[in-house]
């Protein structure tokens, strides 16, 4: 187990290093350099030169790259080009909003899709194709709805027509009631997209387990259907479900960028779009690396969980 974790960790390190390298050199491919892109026509040659040397852009590329790696290693992400604020501070300030959305979404998704998927599997097992087909069909449509469109439709129905949730307004982490009301719709929208995948996987894995001998044995011992379903079938179908939650985390991150933009929530997705619009490449570069690290880290954790909890997986 330990040696496996170490091997995976090395692999993880190589991937992260690759990500950082790729992002660094890709960003250097931008025509001109960050300074002239940012300054536009407002600054003269001498002022530009001064800023360049301040930011170390006159150094050879390799030195710049090594300096960048050195800074990353001590979690120094530099400053935003436009406002000169430390990027770490901005990210840390915005992160709780994004995390609340992500955690809320995973919670709601699990709450909806596991009973739904189990029900679909049970119905399929009993030969009731109609309900099974309906659930699977609805899940597919939900899966394909573009999140920005779903957001607008939900805004239209729940905020503008019914007035249940505020469409905009300040978000403060101390005021959890307001925060909850503000992130309720984004969480609902993202869950709709996630439910489909998770319900489908739950259905498949429960259906598979329901055909196993030990489930038949449990039935023949006279236990109630519910007990068989939850104690035996669902418990053993849990692993693929955990894996899929981890794997669909990338989709979830994509979604948070969109909903933060639409619902004007001050999370890291909004920082990214803001950075793009103000051509703040330092910010964009840092955030893309940051997102990739979260994603890779989650996948790593999922993989380890899978191996810890499945005794059949050999090392």
């Amino acid at each position: 187990m330990l040696s496996y974790s170490l091997k995976r960790l090395t692999q993880l390190f190589v991937t992260v290093l690759g990500v950082v390298t790729l992002v660094f050199f890709t960003m250097r491919l931008i025509p001109g350099d960050p300074i002239s892109a940012m300054a536009g026509d407002n600054l003269s040659g001498a002022a530009l030169d001064q800023m360049r040397s301040q930011m170390g852009l006159n150094e050879p590329l390799l030195i710049q790259y090594l300096t960048y790696l050195g800074h990353l290693a001590v979690l120094d992400f530099g400053h935003t080009v436009t406002t000169k604020l430390p990027i770490v501070g901005l990210i840390l300030g915005a992160l709780p909003v994004t995390i609340s959305i992500a955690v809320g979404t995973i919670f709601l998704t699990v709450l909806i899709s596991i009973p739904l998927g189990t029900l679909a599997a049970y119905m399929a097992h009993k030969g009731n194709r109609m309900l099974d087909n309906t659930i699977t069909g609805v899940a597919m449509v939900l899966d394909l709805m573009p999140p920005f469109w779903t957001s607008l439709v939900c805004l239209l129905i729940f905020s503008l027509t019914l007035g249940w949730f505020p469409a905009s307004g300040a978000v403060s982490l101390e005021d959890s009631a307001t925060l909850l009301r503000r992130i309720a719709l984004p969480v609902l929208v993202l869950s709709m997209a996630q439910v489909a995948t998770l319900a489908r996987i739950t259905r498949t894995s429960v259906l598979e387990v329901l055909n196993e001998d030990y489930v038949r044995t449990a039935r023949s011992m006279g236990w109630s259907e519910l007990r068989v379903l939850f104690r035996h079938a669902l418990k053993n179908a849990a692993l693929p479900v955990v894996t899929v939650i981890g794997l669909s985390f990338g989709n979830l991150l994509n979604g948070t960028v969109i909903v933060e933009f639409i619902f004007t929530l001050p999370g890291i997705g909004n920082l990214l779009v803001g950075g793009m619009n103000s051509r703040d490449y330092q910010m964009v570069q840092t955030l893309i690396v940051f997102y990739a690290m979260i994603f890779v880290g989650i996948n790593f954790a999922t993989d380890l969980i899978y191996r810890v909890f499945d005794p059949r997986v050999q090392f």
């Binding site: 690759g18 449509v141 503008l160 994603f295």
Partner: protein, 295 residues
């Protein structure tokens, strides 16, 4: 298509029959393919025939018909500049379809070539390729596209390239695994014993047998590309206005959601219809080509 899972001696007629008349008939008799075509064909026809339809052009403004709800004159209503939204939506579908098709074709081609090389030769090529795909797969797809667009700029070509770059690693992986499973089949050994060259093996025995699963993946990639392009344009990072990409239309309507619900919702519903039909299409292709699901 028995050859996908059961190794048969390679004969051209068998390998390509899913592209020939027999295969086409079998595809067309699949319920899901029929359903997909029932949605896709009318949309495509309307899109292609748009210039000949009795509706205003997508960029034509009409100050006497600003933000009008859907009616018989303007089936999808008009936007704040009096532009006909049906016309704009159809023009947007044209852009979406182009992006979807271009991304699917590009990532399929690159994935096919690189995946075949990695799977067939293994060794160093394979290891390098896997490390590189690992790095690209470490980015959530929309975020990779955002990053790439920030480097390449906005517009049609950068958007197509940015979306393809996040799809290519997936196609390389798929093709590699298909090639690996085919490489050790008995009929490949048989071909080797009669001194078939590497190129011949790849061209005649391996690649044709991987095309079907690749096509299934390509139609999903097309649907996905349409959704990502719309997302990028919606964020203002994709295809720039006044070009009526579907994402732009939805973005336009966001500000007027309360006064004019139709501006955003109707184009979005069209995206959803296209995505659903492409998924039906891929499901249908898989069913029709999978010998185990034949009834």
């Amino acid at each position: 298509m028995a050859h996908i899972s059961i190794p048969l001696p390679a004969r051209r007629s068998i390998q390509f029959d899913f592209l020939g008349l027999n295969g086409a008939l079998r595809l067309l008799s699949n319920r899901r393919v029929q359903l997909a075509l029932m949605i896709l064909v009318p949309i495509l026809l309307l899109t292609l025939l748009r210039p000949f339809l009795p509706i205003p052009g997508p960029l034509e403004t009409n100050l006497r018909a600003m933000t009008k709800p859907p009616s018989f004159v303007h089936l999808f209503g008009t936007d704040r500049m009096g532009r006909d939204l049906l016309s704009r939506t159809l023009a947007g579908v044209q852009i979406s379809m182009f992006v979807g098709f271009a991304v699917a074709l590009l990532s399929l081609t690159v994935g096919l070539v690189m995946g075949t090389l990695a799977g067939f030769f293994g060794g160093l090529i394979d290891r390098v390729m896997m490390t590189v795909t690992d790095i690209f797969l470490a980015f959530p797809s929309l975020l990779l596209a955002i990053g790439l667009v920030s480097v390449m700029g906005t517009g049609m070509l950068p958007v197509v390239l940015a979306i393809s770059l996040s799809d290519v690693p997936r196609f390389i992986r798929l093709q590699r695994s298909l090639v690996l499973s085919l490489r050790s089949r008995a009929y490949i050994d048989a071909a080797r014993t009669v001194k078939a060259s590497q190129l011949w093996l790849m061209r005649k025995h391996i690649i044709p047998n991987t095309l079907a699963p690749l096509l299934v993946a390509a139609s999903i990639a097309a649907a996905n590309a349409i959704l990502v392009e719309a997302g990028l344009s919606f964020l203002g990072l994709g295809i720039m206005p006044p070009a009526p990409s579907l994402g732009n239309l939805i973005r336009d309507g966001q500000t007027y959601l309360e006064q004019a619900w139709w501006i955003s919702t109707l184009p979005g519903a069209v995206i959803l219809l296209i995505a659903i039909s492409l998924h039906f299409l891929s499901d249908g292709i898989r069913q029709a080509l999978d010998p185990r699901s034949r009834k």
